[in-house]
Amino acid sequence: MGVDQHTDWDVLIKGLWRENPVFVAVLGMCPTLAVTNTAINSLAMASATFFVLFFSSLFVSLLRKVIAKEVRITTYIVIIATFVSLVDMLLAALVPDIHKELGAFIALIVVNCLILGRQEAFAAKNKVGLALMDAIGMGLGFTIALLMIGIVREILGNGSLFDIPILGASFEPWIIMILPPGGFFTLGFLLLIFNTVAQRRARANAITS
């Protein structure tokens, strides 16, 4: 029992840091670079992706014994596309302004390799509980990564955070940070920090062991 609990917990937290989909696996780069120009856009895109990942994992895991392996990819795509279309309708109905901001990138969640990757690598091979833990962990890891990039870009590019001005009127916004190059700069900088910390940790662990 104890071992199982440890395993479940490990499945959940691995997506946050050790196997973070953005900073380690470098998956889902299209939304990561395109819609992280503000913190609210990042949060909205990450929430939409989380929703799709969670429900896709639920159904793929539930139906893993029913879906024949010859048609599994097609079936996963149908499941994922269904939830992407649903999230698109829900955002248009509930938060039309954010739906307008995210533009075509909501529909592009269908081709986010993070989602299809988790179905093929994990949900299709594990029980529902574990598949959902994995989806929550990976979804949160993706949310954290997008939020970090969005926060940096909005503060430097607009002088605000969640549309609230925080750097005062004297601050001259770095416009480039909300433009596409700003996405690459921020991602590169955060990857550098992430990898440096990971390497130092690995080195410290090696010395300890």
Partner: protein, 234 residues
């Protein structure tokens, strides 16, 4: 550490000894997936459609008030294929033209909805047209899926929007590079979003080509109707 990671991402592969499924099973799997996907999507569509329609109507209402400054009420016009007229639009004969009225019943102008393919998808916009000055007096984007940070400047860039404060429609509206605007019929394009800027130019060109003349005729007719009434009063 590495072996622990592999435990979750790549479980040990065991040889698949199960018999190969027949075509009927494969078709049934995909058919069922399609059926349930369709069921979920149609349910979602039916549930969200009224809310989305209401959001669009509110956005349209707000946009009309923005493109026709000082507007207190507006009315959608009817198009019979030849002339514009006032009445109750039924859907089939509803023109994408709204007459905006200000304080004292004065006609401020006409708001026209129009659309054109942009960089990503169809851009839907509404703009205000003043038939007396024969110029566009405001423009708002209703729907757009243009690239965040670039193409979406067509509705976020305040400088770009000033192009439409007093844009002459004759000679035909054209798009010029940023900083090269010399004439009142020119739109300064957004640097890095030329396709989106040109799409906005095209949608205004098309809108004006379709509705300028009918609006002028309708407006002249309104003025002629009001003149005898004023003569009677005097």
């Amino acid at each position: 550490m590495m072996s622990e990671n592999q435990q979750f991402t790549s479980p040990p592969v065991t040889p698949d000894m199960s018999p190969e499924p027949g075509p009927a099973r494969l078709i049934a799997t995909l058919g069922l997936a399609g059926f349930f996907a369709g069921l979920l999507l149609v349910s979602g569509f039916v549930l969200t459609k009224p809310i989305i329609e209401q959001n669009k109507a509110e956005a349209l209402k707000a946009a009309v008030y923005q493109v026709l400054e000082g507007c207190v009420t507006f009315e959608q016009l009817i198009w019979d294929g030849k002339i514009l007229s006032q009445g109750t639009p039924t859907g089939e004969n509803a023109a994408p033209v709204y007459i905006g009225v200000g304080e004292g019943g004065r006609v401020l102008g006409f708001a026209i909805t129009t659309e054109e393919p942009g960089f990503q998808d169809i851009i839907k916009a509404i703009y205000g047209y003043d038939p007396v000055l024969d110029q566009i007096i405001g423009m708002e984007i209703l729907e757009s899926k243009e690239t965040p940070g670039l193409g979406d400047k067509i509705f976020k860039d305040a400088n770009f929007k000033t192009n439409f404060d007093a844009l002459a429609v004759s000679p035909e509206i054209i798009s010029v590079k940023h900083g090269e605007k010399k004439n009142p019929n020119e739109i300064e394009a957004i640097t890095g979003a030329t396709i989106s800027s040109k799409a906005v130019t095209r949608l205004l060109q098309k809108g004006m080509a379709a509705w300028r003349e009918p609006i002028q005729l309708f407006f002249q007719g309104m003025k002629q109707q009001s003149l005898p009434a004023q003569d009677q009063k005097s």
